[in-house]
Subunit: 337 residues, 2 copies
């Protein structure tokens, strides 16, 4: 049997983190924790696509400032977005001049980037720094994957709201006293979501999320209660219920400590986001705004963090291909006391 | 100064390699070296997009067979394609059930995948195996990035012909007696190509290729003649001439041993491919069909291999954004005698 979990040869520390968001994100549950909010979602740019790149740039800028790290000290950048072909992050982050690895794991790209950055750091000399940046923009994603907002298409109740948000993380295998750290990684498996419905990505991603959670728990021998939180990226209400059921069927009851960033980012009582949040920026910003600070404060001791991605393209959806899901996993532990 | 070149803690061996191609590729210079050719470019599928996924599946299947490695022994798959959002490889390779990292570096994805697979192997136990698979399909790429073939749009003289090809590589840090190995990696930097012209990607990628070559040579202290070949991915005729000139201006004359896969895949005397080949499958198939066998035979002792990518999306092109380039580098040495 293939061993899936890798314990890193050196734990990788979060040196700093930052998040930026749009208007809807400002009105959500973590409005006060974002480093920057732009109420009109345009970030001073002429197009939504450029705005997405600008969000990436701003978030990395804030992370560098908070970590007191100059861009030239960052050895490598792992990044991706929701625009087809990483156009936002390629152009948005160009000015930093940091060597770059472009990633695509749909909404799972945040964890994918943290995993790849960790692998790179373990092969790097002491005091190396890596960056992981992911972003998504509601208006850019809607017109790419579904219909332009101007068409006014009615959204299905199972649809999720792509977050206009970016999260940036600086990681190092040294330093970062008292900061949370990544100790284990598990690369995700592509799992057929058995559905071609681009308006129900929660359902398409739930099998992949459950596969990753069950595989991790089975291989590690841990019970779900080992973790203060088992955090999924953006299953939303529909996908979360399905993933919990799938895990339960495999003998793991995660309902007591399962959190989903897609169910946390917005305030359901005030915001009409249907099944919840999604997008590369969703899990990234909730990690930066909520989970990392809570781990740092000691409220959480350790969490299992898995962003979830729905792998599709506008063409594959039109061709009625099933949407596959993927859910890479990292185990994050609180800083040593 | 940021050190760019990483010497791997354990050299990574090519355990096997395979390539599949379409009709045009069969008529090209390496027609006899492909593991499988499909003259009608459809690979038994109803759509070109599905055909691209099927090519990925076939190429990995051949690599596994040639390496006598069952899919369940492959710990991780690093993969990407030219369809927006990795739709081809996500769906095409799903049946193998191998944990997957989706990458996007446009036509540079082959080297990007080999780099990430090398990093993963260095953090993996003995006898681990990783796979790197990349593919592109002319008809799928044309209708995504430019216009559907049915429109019959006239192509510019600077335009390149996206290869209908896939390449798969199995890598391991152990075994592979006498096989070529990756000793060093250098992650690429995103460089503004200063041109928004999607019909001249060679020009858009040349600055990135030159940046990577000059940076590598300067940091390593090597002269270009150190290598039997400095291989770029798919600059084509236009980009190759520009990259050589840019390197020359920085004090490095690479014209004596520079090879470009985009200028090698097709036979210019018989095939009207304008400036040459391009696509994720171009450098992957030329590496699998030509350079690895030549390294194995001892014809080449060591090569510097850098696939080149043009980072753009259909939307960014319509919005007249400049196309950025990227060129990650690996140093491949022949097997020990």
């Amino acid at each position: 049997m293939r061993k899936r979990i890798r314990t890193l040869s050196k734990p990788v520390k979060f040196l700093s983190a930052a998040a930026v968001g749009g208007g809807e994100e400002g009105r959500g549950n973590f409005g006060k924790s974002f480093d920057f909010l732009c109420p009109d979602d345009r970030f001073g740019e002429k197009t939504f696509e450029r705005a997405e790149g600008e969000m990436a740039r701003l978030s990395l800028g804030f992370a560098l400032k908070k970590g007191k790290i100059p861009p030239e000290d960052v050895g490598c950048l792992f990044t991706g977005d929701l625009q087809n072909q990483c156009a936002a992050t390629s152009l948005g982050l160009l000015s930093f001049g940091i060597p770059t690895v472009g990633l695509y794991g749909a909404c799972s790209t945040c964890t994918e980037a943290l995993i790849c950055a960790s692998l790179w750091l373990c092969e790097s000399p002491e005091n190396s720094v890596a960056a992981a940046v992911t972003c998504s923009h509601n208006s850019a994603a809607e017109r790419q994957f579904r219909t332009p907002l101007e068409y006014g298409a009615q959204r299905a109740p199972t649809a999720q709201w792509t977050a206009t948000a970016a999260g940036a993380f600086l990681l190092g295998s040294d330093g970062g006293e008292g900061m949370p750290e990544i100790r284990e990684i598990m690369i995700g498996k592509v799992v057929d979501g058995c559905s071609p419905d681009a308006s129900n990505m929660g359902a398409a991603m739930a099998p992949a999320a459950a596969d990753s959670i069950v595989t991790y728990l089975r291989e590690s021998g841990f019970e779900p209660s080992k973790f203060d939180a088992i955090v999924t990226g953006d299953l939303g209400k529909v996908g979360s219920a399905l993933a919990e059921e799938l895990c339960f069927n495999e003998g793991y009851d995660i309902s007591g400590n399962h959190f989903d960033c897609g169910c946390m980012l917005y305030d359901f009582s005030k915001q009409d986001v249907h099944a919840g949040a999604s997008g590369c920026g969703c899990s990234a910003s909730v990690l930066a705004c909520h989970f990392l600070p809570e781990l740092q404060k000691g409220k959480y001791r350790e969490i299992l963090f898995l962003s979830t991605g729905a792998l599709m393209s506008p063409t594959s959806v039109m061709q009625k291909q099933n949407i596959a899901g993927i859910a890479p996993v990292i185990r994050i532990c609180g800083g040593e006391k």
